[in-house]
Amino acid sequence: MTSSEWPLYEVFVRSKRGLNHVHVGSLHAPDDAMALRHARDVYTRRSEGVSIWVVRSDAITASSPDEKDPMFAPSGDKVYRHPTFYEIPDDVPHM
């Protein structure tokens, strides 16, 4: 099966003037314009006048020196592990 999975975007919302944009979550979209529409639908219920930023997750460069994982360079690396990093184990029946 070939993958046509849409890239991951991070969503930032400023709910009213005077506040910062705050990271609220992520979503998938084929491109920036669709990501904005999806963000309105998913994260703001299309409330009026809300400022939204979206950015592709793989376009963010991260630095967090107190988060020490040899998988990541201490600064200037990805926010998340790359999707192919992790092999998913088959689950055992469990609640």
Partner: protein, 311 residues
């Protein structure tokens, strides 16, 4: 084999957990912790997505426009909850698409409750009251779970779930004020869902293999039996207020394991439904990617043409 570096990392992780701090995506974590998280968050996400089906089944037949709007908004919330949780899982390096394929292949589980059919409109109320109620008992402690992205997703989810539970209770209370037929519908629905709802907390502690390690890691914060008892205590006065009789609490764990292993009345149907939506949507997802790519290519061509012209 344990190197000095590994030992340091493990000590750092242990200290974070011991201090009640959150583990974040770029932190080192033991492989077992990551595997347990992926399994638990994925199972939770799948439960939200599969959980759209039993109630979604009633949207087109909702008996009032107000109830139709409430139900559609609720099932839509469940899609949103699945989306937030898949996102939390994606911070661990697993894609949503992989997780969906695992679900469709039957390699990952979802809550067994959704393998029971929703057979009357009263079930919409009962699912809200009992199923979402049980989910809340399970989920509220997870707002303080040790993995940051999971806990943050849960805060928003719990806020919405409490409305879901209230709307379910309110629907049942309204129906109980209606006709005799409606009251009978409510009781019949509660009779069918009570025990499956109690089983949502998982097998008794004596049979639960993963509880101890998950609690040590701060992924899970209470045992199955503790949560189940808390739910029964909370629910009894609500049932009295509604005027319905709750069945006894004797659970048939053979039935539980049968349903968990895919032998529930709707198990095959739920997976087939999800697979159909995923397969039928493939051409749409592909088209959107192709269009996005052609826009990028078109832009690149225009830029190089412009540069050509400038020269």
């Amino acid at each position: 084999m344990t190197s000095a570096v590994d030992t340091d990392l493990q000590a750092g992780f242990d200290a974070t957990i011991a201090a009640g701090d959150r583990i974040e995506p770029r932190d080192w974590m033991p492989e077992g912790y990551r595997r347990t998280l992926v399994r638990q968050i994925a199972q939770h996400a799948h439960s939200e997505i599969i959980g759209m089906q039993p109630e979604g089944n009633w949207i087109t037949r909702a008996p009032s426009l107000r109830r139709k709007a409430i139900l559609l908004a609720k099932v839509q919330d469940e899609a949103g909850h699945g989306l937030y949780l898949y996102s939390a899982c994606e911070t661990l390096g697993v894609s949503r698409e992989d997780l969906t394929r695992q679900l469709i292949a039957g390699a990952q589980k979802y809550s067994s409750i959704f393998n029971y059919p929703a057979l009357s409109y009263a079930d919409v109320g009962t699912i809200g009251w009992l199923v979402d109620g049980a989910a809340i008992c399970n989920q509220v402690p997870l707002c303080r779970t040790s993995y940051g992205p999971y806990g943050r997703s849960m805060i928003r989810i719990c806020k919405e779930e409490s409305f879901h539970q209230r709307q379910g209770f309110e629907l049942l209370a309204t129906m109980m004020r209606g006709t005799d037929e409606q009251r009978a519908m409510v009781q019949e629905s509660v009779d069918r869902f009570w025990k499956p709802a109690l089983m949502m907390f998982g097998p008794p502690d004596s049979q639960s293999s993963n509880t101890e390690q998950s609690m040590a890691w701060g992924i899970k914060r209470h045992t199955n039996d503790e949560l189940r008892e808390r739910f029964i205590e909370m629910t009894a006065p609500q049932a009295a207020a509604l005027g319905v009789t709750l069945p006894d609490n004797d659970l048939d764990w053979d039935e539980f394991w049968t349903v968990v292993k895919g032998g529930g009345p709707c198990s095959a149907q739920r997976i087939a439904h999800r697979k159909r939506a995923y397969d039928d949507g493939a051409w749409v997802r592909e088209a959107a990617m192709a269009f996005a790519q052609s826009e990028v290519d078109g832009l690149a061509q225009r830029v190089s043409r412009d540069q050509e012209a400038d020269r």
